[in-house]
């Protein structure tokens, strides 16, 4: 390379000129990376906290307590099992505070969550998809400009407000009179109202993300169909929908994931009575509702009730994680299609 460098005093471009500035740059880079790693740490912490305390639900000590005890005594400490995994997974009763025979069958809570999620999907998916089609294919620029942000406001309303809406309006004003026509009665807390409000609050997720996918469909495809004499209806259903299906599907997954984790609206709307049922008029307790209502009665640390919060939280977390991973996967594939 350059041999002149040793003889020449140098044109002032070597490291020492801006050394202080570069040192600061490297320091800042490290600080920023540190901040970034906190996001990874958060995920790890969620896993560790949930797993550690779930261990403490099944046994008489959390995993970390057991580990510390074993290390300090230099023996593998024994563990007393409190809850059988089979009971947790397969028992059909959830009655943690029952005096004589407490039972922890997560099925009861999971079924309530699934029931409401499915019901909500029946509201948000058709309405959200139709709204997306309207915004993308039919609405004028002006209409779209006002309609889309208004729909998105629905997603900005705190969920507690939806819960209030469910008990003070949806159940008594919308549902009860209609059901009474059919001779059905409905309590203050019921699955149906939870389905309705969770459905409403997830409409904007479906509409907004689906619409983005529909608008990404190139106009060439539409024009091709129009040139063949297709009506707008035919173009919408046979060209736009199939071409944007993966994006639309991703929006469904996202809405479902959101519905699974939804807490305050379902706690107020669906109630706090664990019931294994598919009856939409019944009062049930979802996983999330169990957590907040149990916290209300401040369960003591280490008690089986306290530890059960984490066991339920772990199941909830895993369910949403699976939904998020599916969403991730679809989004990645969908991106490739239009590149």
């Amino acid at each position: 390379m350059s041999t002149d460098a040793t003889t020449d005093p140098g044109p002032g471009i070597t490291g020492d000129v801006a050394a202080a500035d570069q040192r600061r740059d490297r320091l800042i880079r490290r600080v920023l990376f540190g901040c970034t790693s906190i996001t990874v740490l958060t995920t790890i912490a969620i896993f560790v906290v949930l797993l550690d305390n779930t261990w403490g639900f099944f046994f008489d000590a959390t995993f970390s307590q057991w580990l510390v005890r074993s290390v300090t005594s230099l023996t593998v400490e024994g563990l007393t099992q409190r809850i059988a995994v089979t009971e947790f997974l397969f028992d059909t009763e959830w009655r943690p505070s029952h005096a004589d025979d407490p039972r922890f069958g997560i099925m009861t809570l999971v079924s309530a969550t699934v029931l409401i999620t499915v019901g909500a999907a029946f509201v948000s998916i058709p309405i959200g998809t139709a709204a997306a089609l309207y915004l993308s294919e039919y609405a004028s620029v002006r209409t779209r400009k006002y309609l889309k942000p208004t729909l998105e406001v629905l997603a900005g309303v705190p969920t507690i407000v939806y819960g209030f809406f469910a008990v003070s309006f949806v159940t008594p004003v919308l549902l009860r009179p209609v059901l009474e026509l059919f001779g059905l009665s409905i309590g203050r807390n019921n699955v149906l109202s939870a389905m309705v409000v969770v459905g409403i609050m997830t409409i904007p997720m479906v509409a907004s993300i689906s619409e983005d996918a529909m608008r990404a469909v190139p106009d060439d495809l539409r024009n091709g169909a129009y040139a063949l004499g297709a009506s707008k209806y035919e173009v919408s259903t046979s060209v736009v929908l199939p071409a944007s299906i993966s994006g639309i599907f991703a929006s469904y997954i996202l809405a479902v994931s959101r519905a699974i984790g939804e807490t305050m609206a379902v706690t107020l709307a669906a109630g706090a009575t664990p019931t294994l049922t598919a009856n939409p008029l019944a009062e049930v307790q979802t996983m999330t509702a169990y957590m907040v209502t149990t916290m209300r009665s401040t369960a003591g640390v280490g008690s089986i009730t306290y530890q059960s919060l984490f066991a339920v939280g772990l199941v909830l977390f895993l369910m949403t994680l699976v939904a998020n991973l599916i969403n991730d996967y679809i989004k990645r594939r969908y991106r490739e299609v239009y590149r």
Binding site: D25, R29, T42, V49, I160, F165, K232, V292, F317
Partner: protein, 302 residues
């Protein structure tokens, strides 16, 4: 196309066919329109419901708005108030802002301005999207396990704000990343070619240009935080907020107070809840207003 769009021309299709096509088209259009309006109608009903219940509370039951805004929780609905809850929420939002803004903007800056396009970085970004999808109640459990009981902070306001901050950090990051990406690369090149280091470029040119977008995104994230209930209940928020909290005391907040009132069987409390919701929604509208003002006023083309 001409054959389809006019009634008189029936060169290809018969009139009956055409009429069916048109009818289907009108029906479809109407269905889609109604679906779009459904959400707006529900929003209208929701606001109406809150206003109606508030009006009943104030006009029929005689809830005193001044008492409501100046006193704390009470067993007696006529003397119950919202002030400690409002103060609690203000504290929570302030602390959440402090924790999430620095962390979020730093992370976004690293990812957009520094990070090489490696596997690790792609993994970090994938992790971020997943974090954004974690239910808020789980963040509450995290704070309960780590801060409230792990570090034995107790159910203090600080722990609640940490839960909220962790919850909204992914939102702040994504918003900041978008704002940084919107800064044209020519501006970065110009700075680097002038002999600025990466950091001098980021601090001197890129961040100032992205700031309006970052601020808007942060306000929207805080708007999300102020309405969050579940994480606060999980860290052990006091549902009946009687005393004005500080960061190291037990605390209540607007949404937890609303939850408590809405949960009570005595219906007068529901009207209190409605009044509380009205206060919360008013604050939210104010925050959205500020966010849009910042975006329109300061965000300029580059």
């Amino acid at each position: 196309m001409a054959t389809v769009s006019t009634d008189t021309d029936s060169g290809v299709l018969s009139d009956a066919d055409l009429r069916w096509v048109k009818r289907k088209e009108v029906l479809f259009h109407a269905t889609l329109f109604l679906a779009s309006v459904f959400g707006v109608a529900m929003l209208g009903l929701l606001v109406f419901d809150v206003l109606f219940e508030t009006a009943v509370g104030v006009l029929v039951l005689g809830i005193d708005v001044t008492t409501f805004l100046t006193s704390g929780a009470s067993r007696d609905w006529e003397r119950a108030g919202f002030l400690p809850a409002i103060i609690g929420s203000v504290w929570l939002v302030l602390l959440t802002l402090i924790f999430s803004f620095f962390l979020g903007v730093s992370t976004a800056t690293y990812l957009e301005e520094y990070a090489p396009n490696t596997r690790t970085v792609r993994l970090i970004e994938a992790n971020l999207t997943n974090l954004a999808g974690v239910p808020s109640v789980v963040y509450g459990l995290l704070a309960l396990g780590v801060f409230v009981n792990g570090l034995r902070l107790g159910s203090i306001l600080l722990a609640g704000s940490i839960a909220l901050a962790l919850l909204v950090v992914p939102i702040v990051i994504v918003a900041s990343q978008e704002a940084l990406r919107a800064v044209p690369s020519g501006v970065r090149d110009g700075s680097l070619a002038t002999g600025a280091t990466r950091w001098q470029t980021v601090r001197g040119v890129v961040l100032p240009a992205a700031l309006p977008g970052i601020v808007t995104g942060t306000i929207l994230a805080l708007a999300r935080a102020i309405g969050e209930t579940a994480p606060l209940i999980m860290v052990g928020a006091v549902l009946q907020a009687r005393q004005t909290p500080d960061p190291f005391s037990l605390f209540g907040s607007m949404p937890t107070m609303i939850y408590y009132w809405a949960f009570r069987p005595i219906t007068e409390f529901h009207n209190l809840a409605a009044l509380g919701i009205l206060v919360l929604l008013t604050i939210l509208v104010g925050m959205y207003g500020v966010a849009f003002f910042v975006r329109n006023r300061y965000e300029r083309r580059l």
